[in-house]
Every structure is written in C-alpha cells, then in structure tokens.
C-alpha cells in the first residue's frame, strides 16, 4: 500500500511543471557550483603549494647567518585546502591564508579573501553547500506542501480514507513518494560530486568526509520533508501550508543565523586588535606569574655561573645570549598561550551562541556540520594557526639552541648554514582525522537528530488527526 501511494505521489510530482522546473534549476545550480569548486580547488591548492615551496626554498637558501637573524627572517605557513573546502567555503573568505612565523611574535593569519570582494559577496557565495542549504529545503517544500491539503481540497482525501487506507500508511507513502522525486534530482548530483572528488588529486582521502556531508544534507532534506507533510496534514488549505513552510524556511535559514551572529557579538566581547596587542605587550613587560624577564634572566645567570664555576658570562663555555633568547621565547610563548587562549575561548563562546540558535534553525546545525567536515570552520582555522605556531616554536628553539651551543667565546663569529636550516623541516599541515572532526559536532548532530525526530513525530500526530474534509 505504502509503495502504491509513493508511486502515485512520484507520478504526480513528475507531472507538475512547477516542481520539475524548480528541481531542474536546482540540479543545474548544484552541478555548476560543484564544477567551479573543482576548478577553484585545482587553482588554489597548486598556488598555495607553490608558494609554500618558494618560502621553504627561501629559508633553505638564505645563506650563512647568525641563527637568530635566521629566526627573524622566518618562514610563512600557508593554509592547506581540501577539495571540500570549495564545496563549502565556510568562514575561509574571512580568515587569513598565511601566517608569518618569526622570532618573538605569534602573528595572526593575513590576506582575508573577503577584503578583495565586492559588497554583493555578502548575499552569499554560490557554493554547493549554499545551494543545498538554501534551495534544497524550498524544493522539498514545493514537492510536499500540497500532499494532504491539496488532496483535501480536491476531495480525493475523503475517497482514499474511505477506502480504509490508514492515515499513517498514507503519511509514509507520501513521504516516500516525495523523497523519491527529490532523490531523482539530488542523488545523481551527489554521485557525480563523489565521482568528481575521487578524480581530483588527493580527493580519495576525503571520501569519508564527503559521505558524512551527503548524509547531513539528506537528513536536512528529510527534516523539511516531514515538517512540510505535518504542516500539510494539519493546515486548513494548501495555501496556508505553503505560506507557513516558506515563512519557516525564510526565518530559520535567513533571519535566525544573522540574529545568532549579532547576539554572539553582543553577549561575548572580543578585544580590538589594538587592545589585544597591548595586553600582550603588557604581559611581556611584566612577565607571567609575577616574575619579569629580567628577574628570570638574573636567576638563570646565577645558576649557570655556579654550574660552570666561572665568575662572568664571557667565561661560560656556551653563549649566554642564546640562553636569554630561549628564556625570552619561553616567556613570550606563555604570554601568547594566555592571550590567544582567551581570544579563542571568546570566539568559541560566540560559536556556542550559534549552536544554541541552531535549536531554532536546522540550517545553522547543518551549516556547522558542513563547514567542519569541509575543514572551513572556525575550529579548523584555529587548528591551522596552532600547528603553525608549534612549527614556529620548534624553529625558534632550534635556532636559539644552535646559537647557545656554537656561538661561544672560542667562536664569536659563528654562522650557521644550510644543515641547520634543514633541521627545522618544512611546514606541512596535518589534516585532523575524520573522527576528530566528528567529535566536535556533537551539539550539531544532536540538534539535527532532534529536529528529524520531532518532525517525524509531528507528521505522525498530524496524520493521526487527519481530517478528510476542510473545515
């Protein structure tokens, strides 16, 4: 019975010009955005890889230098992209693409693409994720809003129910039919996208991510499908069902995310960049834990004089200036950890406001999951900066140690060369494993699950109380 209902629904959907046009436009837009994503991935990943190679070569071929001068020269870390980064660009237009790694400083990423865009970019970027988040729900609403209400208006609902068809079966039949109709357009595009992913270099590694992304969007479509069916069953006319669902879609997908953004800014403050730099400068000046750098250096000097049993730093068998630089780095690292830690905590609290708002907006929950899996979320950006910083600290540490051990009284003109530069290694971003990405998505998955469960239950309740005739 469910199958024959589904078949009828599918047939009528395929005969409906409105639905077919909407579905065809949707599929074309999705394919176009996936195609442009593949192109952008090819361009940008090779550009970044080339740039990283250039700066690596610049580092390696910088010639003979005092290691500390090399530390000041530093290197750049360029942000890695994945093929999915262009399916869902997430926050990547608003985050920098490279970080300068140099002595004494933890720099912020620079070169946000958004500064080179026109104001209309703020309407939204045409990506696969955007198409799915904005257009897929509308397609589903169009497919399903008339399911019950339309039949009631035509009088066919009374006939069907009089035949003894249980409303619950009718409900699942209609759901299956509408889902099949939507699937006819969406699934081939998904398959096409997955094949495309396997064809781009390095794409295979992200197949798992892509499958979860596909699942997320299927759940998203299902939420809208069951909600629309519930509204269609409960509404007094198909007109009302349509208005209610379009209004819900507009408010939850367009207005609520913006409300979340502003609420997060008003609830949790982030410092201005000037205040942030000032706080860092103050901490560097005063030291951490009540001990200034001068005090730490003096203490270490005493220790080392005792250790080497000499009476001046010039007589030490090592370069004490290198030790001072190391101590300075230790202090500044602690200061950066504290200040960046506070900043990131504030940013994450703001993100929490988005997660709270997603309880009211399924799009927000889906958006958070989609970005995370595409490695274009706030968390992914912070992970990149953290890896770059780890690399920087190791680089500076290597330089300081070389200075300490080699630039001694016996060899004051010490110059390091390519062997030392090579010791630092090259910056190579390690992508987080899929399990790690999934682990931060608990809240989003929970919200999506609740929406799905609630919409199915709402549909069941509405179907059970199904009225054959309009009031």
């Amino acid at each position: 019975m469910i199958l024959s209902i589904a078949k009828k629904e599918l047939t009528s959907a395929l005969r409906d010009g409105r639905v077919m046009w909407s579905a065809a436009i949707f599929a074309v837009m999705l394919i176009a955005s996936l195609g442009s994503a593949a192109q952008r991935y090819a361009d940008i990943s090779s550009e970044r890889a080339a740039a990283q190679e250039i700066v690596n070569a610049q580092w390696q071929n910088q010639g003979e230098k005092n290691p500390h001068a090399a530390a000041h020269y530093g290197v750049y870390a360029f942000k890695a992209v994945t093929p999915l980064s262009f399916f869902d660009t997430g926050v990547s237009s608003f985050t920098g693409v490279s970080i300068w790694l140099e002595a004494h400083k933890q720099n912020m990423a620079e070169g946000e693409p958004a500064r080179d865009a026109t104001a209309i970019a703020r309407f939204g970027e045409l990506t696969g994720a955007f198409t799915l988040q904005m257009l897929l729900p509308l397609l589903v609403i169009l497919l399903a809003f008339a399911s019950f209400a339309g039949e009631r208006e035509q009088g066919t609902l009374r006939q069907v129910l009089a035949m003894g068809v249980s409303p619950i079966r009718l409900y699942f039949g209609k759901a299956l039919g509408a889902a099949t109709a939507a699937g006819l357009f969406v699934i081939p595009v998904f398959v096409l996208g997955l094949i495309g992913l396997l064809l781009v270099p390095g794409g295979v590694a992200f197949l798992g991510h892509a499958l979860v992304v596909v699942a997320v969007y299927i759940v998203y479509a299902a939420i809208f499908l069951f909600l629309t069916l519930a509204v269609s069953a409960a509404a007094d006319s198909s007109r009302t069902a349509l208005v209610v669902m379009v209004a819900f879609w507009a408010v939850s997908s367009v207005a609520l995310p913006k409300a979340a953004a502003d609420a997060s800014r008003l609830i949790y403050d982030t410092p201005t960049s000037v205040a942030f730099q000032k706080a860092i400068a103050a901490d560097l000046e005063n030291g951490m834990g009540g001990k200034s750098l001068d005090a730490i250096v003096a203490e270490r000097k005493e220790q080392m004089l005792k250790l080497y049993k000499v009476d001046s730093i010039e007589k030490m068998p090592i370069n004490f200036q290198g030790v001072v630089l190391g101590l300075q780095e230790q202090l500044s690292n602690a200061v950066f950890d504290k200040n960046y830690g506070q900043l990131y905590a504030a940013l994450n609290q703001q993100k929490g406001v988005f997660e709270t708002f997603s309880v009211l907006s399924p799009r927000l929950a889906v958006q958070m999951a989609s970005m995370e899996l595409s490695e274009t979320s706030l968390g992914n950006h912070i992970a990149f900066t953290a890896q770059a910083e780890t690399y920087r600290r190791n680089m500076i540490d290597t330089m300081n140690k070389a200075l300490t051990m080699n630039s001694t009284g016996a060899n004051p003109e010490y110059r390091a060369g390519p062997e030392l530069w090579a010791k630092v290694g090259v910056f190579d971003y390690t992508h987080p494993p899929l399990t790690q990405l999934l682990s931060v998505l608990g809240p989003s998955f929970m919200v999506m699950f609740l929406w799905l469960a609630a919409s199915i239950v709402a549909g069941l309740l509405a179907a059970r109380k199904l009225k054959a005739l309009a009031a």
């Binding site: 550009e47 608003f94 080179d116 970019a121 703020r122 045409l126 913006k258």
Partner: protein, 474 residues
C-alpha cells in the same frame, strides 16, 4: 466606486490577522535591527576614541622625554629625540574613518573593511594589510541591520500579503459577484492594491523615521533629511517592485498556490541566486591578484634589501639595534631601514596598484549587473547612501594614503637630514582629518538604482495591466 472599495478594503484589512501579523513582524524586526546596528557602531566609536586617547598618551610621554633633554642637554640624546625611532618604531598615528550618522541602518562592508589604520613612516602596505579582530563566523553570516530587513524580509512579507490578491477572490467566487455589481476589474484591483500600498507606505515611512531617529540623525539638517528621504525612496521603490511583481503574477490567473510557489522562487532568484551569480561573474572577470603571490614577492624583495644592508652592517645588530651599544648613533641604522622599506615598496606598489585596479573593475561589473536584480540595486544604493559601501572605504584608504605621504615626509626628511626631534617638533607632526565624501555626490549614486526600480515597477504594472484586460473572472 473606487472610494467605496478602497474604504471597504481598509476595513477588511484592519480585521485581518495575517496583515496585523506581517506589520507587527516588520515593526519588531526593524526596531531590533536598528538597535542592533546602533550597538555595533557605538562599540566602534568607543574603540576609536580609545585609540586616540592611547596615542595622545604615547605622544605626550615621548614629547616629555624630548623636553627633558631639551631643557638639560647632557650626555647622548635619548631615543625619543631620534626621528627614526619615533616615526618608524615608537609612534603611530591612528587615522580613523568617521562613520555617517546613518551608517547603523546598513552595516554594509563595515565588518570587512578596516575603519582605522595605524599610520607609521614605513610603507603603507605594512599597515593597510592589518585587520580588526572579528569572529569569521559572524562576518560570514553578516549583520542583522535595517537594510537586511528591507532587502530580505520585506519582500517575503509583501509576497505573503499579496500572492493571492486576485486569485483568492476568484477561488472564493467573489470576483463574479463583484463584477456583477458593475465594478470594473481595473477599479477593483487598483483599489485593493492602493489600500495595501498606502498602509505599507505609512508603516515604512514611520519605520524609516524611527530608525533614523534611533541612529541619532538630526532630520532638521537638510543634508541628513535629503539622504533619509532618498533612503526611503529606495525602500519604497524596492517594495513597489515586489508589489508589482505579485500584481503581475496574480494577473496570470493561476491558482493561489501556484502564485505562492512562483513568487517564492522569484524571491530566491532575485535575492539569493542572482547576487551570488553576479558575484561569481565579477570575481571571474577581474580576479584579485593573489595575496599568496604578494607575500612571496614581498619576502623576496625584503631579503634582497636586507642582504644589501647586512653587507655593510652586522646582521645581528641589524635585528637587535638595542644591542649596538647604548647611546650609539642610530641614524645610520634608520637610513638603512628606509632603504629596505623603499626596496620592498618598489616591488609591492605595482602589485597593490593591481589590487586596486582589479577591485575597481569588479565594482564596475557590479554597477552594471546590479540591474539584473532589484535586490542588488537596492543593496548598492542603501550602502552608498549611508557610506558603508566599498567605494567609501576606498575613499578613506586613499585619504589615508595621502596623509601617509605627509606623515612619512615629516619623519623621513628629519631622518635623512640627521635632525633631532625637539619638543616643538612633536606638535608639528601632521594629524589625520577624515573628510566625508560630499553628501550631494553620494546621493547621486543612488539615483540610477532608484530609476531602475521605478522603471521595473512601471514595466511590471504595464504588463500586468494588459493581462488584467483579458483576465477571466470565473
């Protein structure tokens, strides 16, 4: 007859719950958006005031140091008397853009483009690349401001109250009854639309005045009044477009439900799809030069210049001038810094010019293609009117660029001549004064989008009028 129907419609609407719902939603959202926009700009104003305070404190301290030496010049002159040390390292001048009093109505590019720069005697690219700390998540999502309510939400509300304007009368069988009374269809439609438009017009006028008032605008000032009036005209033109579109769709005599579906799709097309396509077109035709490329080029140039400098000076001291021995003459060092800066600037300037050129061309594409969608036209006009479009930020940047020339010239002249900073010199350091673009000129940028909206409304209504002439009433 028109009056009778018109009055009747007003009475009917006054008891219609959907209408009340839509209007109260519009009022609530607009007020929230206005307050929210104000909160953002208040935060910015406070932050800017803090910057200037900090700068005054720094400069006063430096000047005091110079004064101590001036009044008692014993021993080596302190660092504060070195123009290189002051202009290249100790002091920076915050050049702040003063936002228009109406800016909270449309945040526009404010959250992406910097509204202040810390000007130093180094080349301008060193501070132009700096940006304010923001959560990229909130930037991505955009701001909930009055312009958003008008551009995104208002059309949905208009669609909700007008998608079944005629189709419902027809479906309910009323159309035949009314026509039997000898009422012409044209009169009926005009009266229905006029009643709705009048109510919405009054509400929008009140909301615009309220939003301007909340932002702290003084409407008795002619310039402000004219800008607000033009803003209102754009909003009304945009609203009229959606009314006219609903009017036309109703003229096609489809069922209510089809009207709703078609209008929802048109909203999606004009407000979501077309802007993102135009964005892709502009970005593809005139892409920004690669920032990644800029980074590697800059580095190459810096390294070359540094090598040249290092050849004549100990590299280690170069990085740690403070270790060169207290009281040592640093003038030579700063001359070298200037040389390095100049070498890097020579490489960066043409790339930066390319950035500006491509950005200008992109804006040109958008200026042209904004006529594909009333939403783009409205956004461009509203941003321009309140000074939050890209062009205002470009203007600010070029003002800063010019100012930077003066500021830098002041210090470079002294560094090269080997002069010292005396007490009086600190008072002579140039100060940035932001000059807002001419309001009359700014308003002109809104004229062509406004004309476009007007033209679109006329075309739609004309088209609909012809269709209504053949409208089947049963």
């Amino acid at each position: 007859m028109f009056n009778i129907i018109f009055n009747q419609e007003l009475r009917v609407l006054s008891t219609n719950q959907t209408w009340w719902g839509v209007l109260s939603l519009l009022v609530i959202l607009t007020v929230l958006a206005a307050l929210n926009g104000n909160a953002r700009f208040e935060q910015m104003t406070t932050a800017a005031a803090k910057l200037n305070q900090d700068e005054v404190i720094t400069q006063t301290a430096l000047q005091a140091g110079a004064q101590r030496y001036d009044s008692n010049p014993v021993g080596d002159p302190p660092a504060v008397t070195s123009p290189g040390n002051v202009g290249l390292s100790l002091l920076g001048h915050y050049a702040v853009m003063r936002h228009d009093v109406l800016a909270p109505l449309s945040v526009g590019q404010t959250d992406v483009q910097p509204y202040y720069y810390r000007v130093t005697a180094h080349p301008s690219h060193t501070f132009f690349s700096a940006s304010e700390i923001q959560n990229p998540l909130t930037q991505m999502t955009g701001s909930f401001d009055v312009a958003f309510v008008m551009i995104f939400v208002l059309p949905i509300l208009i669609i909700a109250i007008s998608f079944d304007l005629m189709s419902r009368e027809k479906e309910g069988g009323m159309l035949g009854l009314i026509a039997a009374q000898g009422v012409s269809l044209r009169t009926l439609i005009l009266a229905k639309v006029a009643a709705r438009a009048l109510i919405l017009l009054v509400v929008l006028l009140a909301l615009t005045a309220l939003a301007a008032f909340l932002a702290g605008a003084d409407l008795t000032q002619a310039q402000t009044f004219n800008t607000v009036a033009l803003w209102f005209a754009v909003v009304v033109g945009y609203a009229a477009f959606w009314f006219a579109l609903a009017f036309l769709i109703n003229a096609l005599s489809w069922p209510s439900v089809t009207n709703g579906v078609v209008l929802a799709n048109l909203w999606l097309l004009f407000v979501v799809v077309l802007p993102s396509i135009v964005n892709v077109i502009a970005g593809t035709l005139y892409p920004a030069p690669s920032r990644v490329h800029l980074t590697t080029e800059m580095r190459e140039a810096t390294e070359e210049a540094d090598k040249a400098a290092a050849a004549s000076r100990e590299a280690y001291l170069f990085d740690h001038p403070e270790l060169a021995g207290a009281g040592g003459n640093m003038d030579g060092f700063y001359v070298q810094v200037l040389a390095t800066d100049a070498a890097v600037e020579k490489v960066v300037t043409p790339i930066m010019a390319q950035f500006a050129e491509q950005a200008g061309k992109r804006e040109g594409v958008v200026d042209f293609l904004q006529y594909t969608s009333p939403a783009i036209a409205a956004q461009q006009a509203l941003n321009a009117l309140v000074g939050t479009g890209n062009s205002h930020f470009e203007d600010f940047t070029s003002q800063v660029e010019r100012f930077h020339g003066n500021w830098r010239g002041f210090f470079v002249g002294k560094i090269v001549k080997g002069e010292r900073m005396a007490t009086a010199d600190f008072d002579a350091i140039p100060k940035f004064e932001y000059a807002a673009p001419d309001a009359t000129f700014t308003r002109q940028t809104a004229y062509s989008p406004l004309m476009f909206l007007g033209l679109a409304v006329i075309v739609l209504i004309g088209w609909a009028g012809r269709r209504y002439a053949r409208y089947p009433i049963v």
